[in-house]
Symmetry: C2
Subunit: 343 residues, 2 copies
DNA sequence: GATTAGCACTCAAACACGATGAGTGCTAAC
DNA sequence: GTTAGCACTCATCGTGTTTGAGTGCTAATC
């Protein structure tokens, strides 16, 4: 459905204005601020058409019009002008990645905070580590208490997973080191999901039986699903939007952010796009039917997938958000290249 | 200042009622619901006295009275009746600690969520690991990339710290294992803050120079301050309280929860008490001047300090909160005894 | 002397009401 | 096709009124 040039421009003006003010926009406003050649009456006619076409809604008869989800869709897909970031903003983003990169979790939180302070939306950063792509690089058993042993698994991507094993009888520290060396050399290079099987096979081979069995028993439980790390920043930003001046709405949305599975489902978009914009019901949750979510996903070379998501009212500053996200993508790319380049 | 019995009872009734309803309570309410022997006029006289004594405030002339911070203080210190938990509640708390205990961080989050769902307040759990009490148990270097090495430090308490070392030139994996064994046996038993010094001394001893030096250089930066892990749950609960139906107030409080240092300062009370209740301005932050914070601290045998805090309006269900917290303390104690008992 | 009934008074909250003004749709003129 | 003009709608805002929960005070009662 092509919109003739003028309708198109008017629609764009309406969306721009509404995104800025959150107030229903009337014909007069457009005529004065955006299309000075046309009278408000003309605009009115066009707006009437646009409503009929499903691009505009009217909250009530005398209140101006607001863009529909369909309009936002069109806006995002076709109307968005590239909106370059200021030098300070680019600088700011780069500085976030500047320091010696600490644990991923920490970095995620830093990204989340930075993005929410730049955009004034709420940001969630998810790092998903698929179990079945993780390859064991090193294994270490460390005595903690008498019959309690800390098992440390290091994967080739440098991720560390730890868990505690309960043993039936005490084991001497020295023995643990020996077992660690043996197991480490035997199991190195296996994918994590293959561990339980491999351990079971080794289990019959001698005195270290019990440790191996304990490991074999514990692993399956943990290898079920991917490891997902979440960091969320800028929750309080939500409360600045007039759409959440109703406390109940704000509460509902905050509750969603407190439910891990819901946040994951919001970030896990199934499309193929690197950057995706989902508007209103497209977000997939009832509670977010008048939110929009913009996500960007990056697949790291070690198989991990990083997803950054911003959430806000459907009246979102898509232009700004998309520019910021793609700049972050570029910066992140640089970092990761540096990091993995020499492998 | 002793209050004669009747005044005391009336004050208690007022506080109880206000905590329940959040509405200023009038003389008639007390006369009907709490002190049926007395007429509202009598209550009025008593209330007038109580106001003069500083235990009650009146929002305006014809609106009943609300307890002052001084009243809450008295309430917490002297009026609180022990309020045993129901069987289900105790059960619920125990279940939280039931499963195989995963990483501390995860446990913290579980505690935070559980407490906030039980009490309907917001919960923060802080685990502070003092650098200078941490003793090295094991050290391992793991190759990640060509000139990038993952350093894993395991302390005697079972905590794992990891960091990435940048080397000037590549090192063979086999060499890393050898170095790990040597360093591990040499450094074991040292406190973490002693590491840089010890490493410096070792640095002259041979070909492994570079690795040791890299470690020595990195450690000081990290050993500056304690490690503090934070988990916060139940933020959205705040929005259920009528005192936060004003979005701006809610936003201000949520912002505090987003500022790590502020949360830490709220949880880090300097008193000696295991359980502390701070009311209004006693919380120490301007932003929380009409909140109360109840914290419970537990010093673990390995030197870590665990602090659990609940935050809500000064009109807080102190009885319930204190019972829940002390039950959690008991459960946590059991867990930790099990955990450390055999050492 | 403590308690209570009674009464005048206060004040926030709720409600009704009209004025205001931003907006629309329609029609007729340009 | 565009625009001026006009009748109409409706949320918002200020105003005034009512209502009711509350107080303080005084005088009568126990």
């Amino acid at each position: 459905m092509d919109l003739i040039d003028r309708k198109y421009r008017i629609l764009q003006a309406i969306i721009d204005d509404y995104i800025l003010t959150a107030l229903p926009v009337g014909s007069r406003t457009i005529s004065r601020k955006y299309e000075q050649k046309l009278s408000s009456a003309t605009i009115r006619n066009e707006m009437s058409d646009l409503e009929e076409l499903g691009y505009l809604d009217s909250p009530h008869t005398s209140a101006g019009r607001i863009p529909s989800n369909k309009a936002y869709r069109l806006y995002v897909d076709q109307m968005l002008r590239p909106m370059p970031l200021s030098a300070e903003e680019t600088e700011f983003i780069n500085r976030c990645f500047d320091r010696r990169l600490a644990q991923v979790d920490d970095l995620s939180m830093r990204i989340a905070k930075a993005l929410s302070s730049m955009t004034h939306y709420t940001t969630a950063v998810m790092t998903r580590t698929p179990r079945n792509e993780q390859v064991l690089s090193h294994l270490q058993l460390v005595p903690v208490a008498d019959r309690r042993v800390l098992l440390i698994l290091v994967t080739q991507s440098g991720t560390v997973k730890q868990s505690v094993l309960e043993l039936g009888s005490p084991v001497a520290p020295d023995e643990l080191y020996t077992v660690s060396r043996i197991l480490s050399s035997r199991l190195e290079g296996l994918r994590l999901i293959e561990l339980p099987g491999a351990l079971m096979q080794l289990a019959g081979s001698g005195e270290t039986d019990e440790i191996v069995r304990a490991m074999a028993e514990q692993q399956p439980a943990e290898s079920q699903s991917d490891i997902v790390a979440l960091a969320i920043g800028g929750r309080s930003n939500l409360l600045s939007f007039p759409e959440y001046s109703d406390v109940d709405k704000a509460k509902a949305l905050l509750s969603v952010l407190e439910t891990r599975e819901k946040v994951v489902s919001l970030l896990d978009h199934h499309g193929e796009m690197e950057i995706s914009v989902r508007i209103g019901p497209e977000t997939g949750l009832e509670e977010t039917r008048d939110c929009s979510i913009v996500t960007a996903s990056y697949r790291l070379s070690d198989g991990r997938v990083n997803t950054i998501g911003l959430i806000g009212p459907t009246r979102m500053q898509y232009g700004k958000v998309l520019s910021v996200l793609s700049q972050v993508g570029r910066s992140l790319g640089t970092i990761l290249d540096e990091h993995d380049g020499h492998e």
